[in-house]
């Protein structure tokens, strides 16, 4: 009888631990809302989505920040997608075992580098290099941020893409090769298209990783919350949503309008990451179901 009682206790504890994730997501949402929604009452909606972020004078327009995040993320994807997927294709389709054994730890090291370390390297190495190389007045630009973010997104894209490519049945490859296709034709004509929803998941998660990244971006993008006036905005300083929260939260008075607006930006970020991750996981689910159907 003693063990039956103990068993019930343990089972209950384990079950509650399992449910705790739901509790935490709700708590996060609740506390973001509690501190962030007052912003809606204090700043007219028109001004909140205005074009000017200048909190000291009461301008709380978050468009420049949203623009900054989008600009840097798109730039990061331009680097992260070809390099991430290219590396994954090479790893899964072409690389001999000994190269894999070297490459995989390297990608893991990249994944493990704290973003503040990448930001530091951005300040020390990347920014001066791009300033000279591209002949810019400052190296602390959206472009430098995008390059760093590209590297931050690469490990995510590589590992999810590689998984996706590995689930493509080898019968596909053998079939293509037997029909006379060479390696390259097999990869582009058969394997990559067969893995495309998995690759899309990888890209989505890369987007999520990039848009939420804070320290590296804050340190190298030059902290200028402005809407672009021309096409070369990529080579000018910018400011993302995440960097704004991180750099201003330390200096605001608790309960002020500025404080509430920073939490409101947090709600926007939460919403974006929720949308991106749910899309990615539903894509992943769909591709897994299709793979199961094909293999059975």
């Amino acid at each position: 009888m003693e063990t039956a009682k103990g068993e019930r206790w343990i089972t209950w504890i384990i079950k509650m631990s399992g449910y705790s994730s739901i509790l935490f997501v709700s708590l996060i949402l609740f506390f973001l809302a509690r501190e962030g929604f007052p912003a809606l009452g204090e700043v007219p909606l028109k001004d909140l989505f205005g074009a000017r972020w200048y909190p000291i004078e009461g301008y709380f327009g978050i468009w420049p920040l949203i623009f900054g995040s989008v600009l840097v993320t798109v730039g990061a994807l331009l680097i992260g997608i070809p390099f991430g997927i290219g590396t994954a294709v090479y790893l899964s389709e072409l690389a001999p075992a000994w190269i894999k054994n070297i490459l995989k730890p390297i990608i893991e090291i990249l994944a493990g580098l704290p973003s503040v370390v990448l930001g530091f390297l951005g300040i020390q190495l990347a920014a001066p290099f791009f300033r000279q190389f591209l002949n810019l007045p400052t190296g602390l630009t959206a472009f430098t941020g995008a390059v760093l973010l590209g590297f931050i997104a690469i490990p995510t894209i590589v590992s999810i893409s590689e998984d996706a490519l590995n689930t493509v049945p080898s019968a596909y490859r053998h079939g293509a090769l037997a029909l006379g296709a060479n390696h390259w034709q097999t990869i582009w004509g058969v394997t990559v298209p067969a893995a495309r929803s998995g690759l899309l998941t990888a890209v989505m998660l890369g987007v999520g990783r990039s848009i939420g990244e804070t320290m590296a971006v804050m340190m190298v993008t030059g902290n200028a919350p402005v809407l672009p006036s021309s096409l070369n905005a990529l080579f000018l300083p910018a400011r993302t949503m995440t960097a704004t929260i991180a750099s201003e939260m330390g200096e605001v008075a608790t309960g002020s309008t500025h404080y509430h607006v920073l939490f409101f930006i947090g709600i926007v970020l939460f919403g974006i990451s929720l949308a991106v991750n749910l899309t990615a996981s539903s894509l992943a689910l769909r591709s897994r179901k299709r793979a199961e159907r094909l293999l059975s």
Binding site: I28, T87, L94, S115, V117, F120, T214, V276
Partner: protein
């Protein structure tokens, strides 16, 4: 003739394409190696016994970084205290108990969601709940709790995966010998999955140790040349210290900057190496 012309073209394209992929991979991997080597070369001269065992002096421009090292150590430990039992238990629930129903799907969505929330948003949440609402103040406790929730999804999913790899026959045999579900987990499944679980735990803690944004407003101090006396004290921490000395301290010697980065890298990548060793050893020994 035309046929062989086409064959030549496609052969040339294939060669080009394969070499392009090789180049791309090289361009991804080389900067990583380069950067690590560069940090070691630039940072190693700063490393000394004083550097890792003394308080900072002259506005952090000289002396050591002991409070930052200890701070990161305490934060990592605090994160482990909260996130390991909870995360492992949650992983056990999902792998061994959870029925295939709507609540379980909700749990899964919640975990995916937790994994995707930007680190700075965790910082806001920690500030709102732990620092202000629960009145822990800017403290090791508040920062550890914030980092714990951020680390949970990593620990949960790796625990789940490790448990799922244990062959079902183990469970069936154990149950048929009269063991209850918990006895089976405690004596059979969990010990078999333990290396995988430990690997996941270390990787999760590694991430927590390197994070800056979640601790900026919950526990990290700009400059505090004291070792923390209680969990309710604020503390310096390596990642935040790197941010501070590379952006906000004019005239900071570059050597100390690289040295501090190197110490954080040793801390973080050291954990990574340990995790990899445990995983490889377990794989080699596994009999199923």
């Amino acid at each position: 003739m035309e046929n062989s012309e086409a064959a030549r073209t496609s052969r040339r394209n294939a060669l080009l394409g394969v070499n392009l992929l090789r180049l791309i991979t090289l361009l991804t991997a080389l900067p990583v190696i380069g950067v690590i080597v560069y940090i070691i070369v630039r940072g190693a001269p700063a490393l000394s016994w004083e550097f890792i065992s003394a308080m900072p002096r002259e506005g952090m421009r000289a002396g050591g970084i002991l409070p930052a090292i200890m701070g990161t150590f305490y934060l990592t430990l605090g994160t482990a205290v909260f996130s390991v039992p909870l995360g492992v238990a949650a992983g056990i629930y999902i792998a061994e108990y959870a029925p295939d129903n709507r609540v379980t799907r909700l749990v899964r969505i919640a975990i995916i969601n937790l994994a995707g929330i930007p680190s700075v948003v965790y910082g806001l949440f920690g500030l709102g709940l732990f620092v202000l609402f629960l009145k822990f103040g800017t403290s090791i406790l508040a920062a550890s709790l914030t980092l714990s929730i951020m680390t949970l999804p990593v620990i949960i999913s790796t625990t789940e995966e490790a448990l799922r790899q244990v062959p079902n026959a183990f469970r069936v045999v154990s149950t048929s010998l009269g063991a209850t579900r918990w006895q089976t987990i405690k004596r059979i499944t969990l010990p078999q999955a333990l290396p995988g679980v430990i690997t996941g735990v270390i990787l999760g803690l590694e991430r927590a140790a390197g994070e800056t944004a979640p601790i900026m407003f919950t526990g990290a101090a700009f400059f505090l040349p004291l070792l923390p006396q209680s969990p309710l004290d604020a503390t310096m921490a390596l990642p935040y210290h790197i941010f501070v000395i590379s952006t906000s301290v004019p005239g900071m010697p570059v050597e100390i900057q690289y040295g501090t980065v190197l110490v954080l890298l040793i801390f973080v990548l050291g954990m990574n190496v340990i995790a990899t060793l445990i995983r490889n050893r377990a794989r080699a020994r596994r009999q199923w």
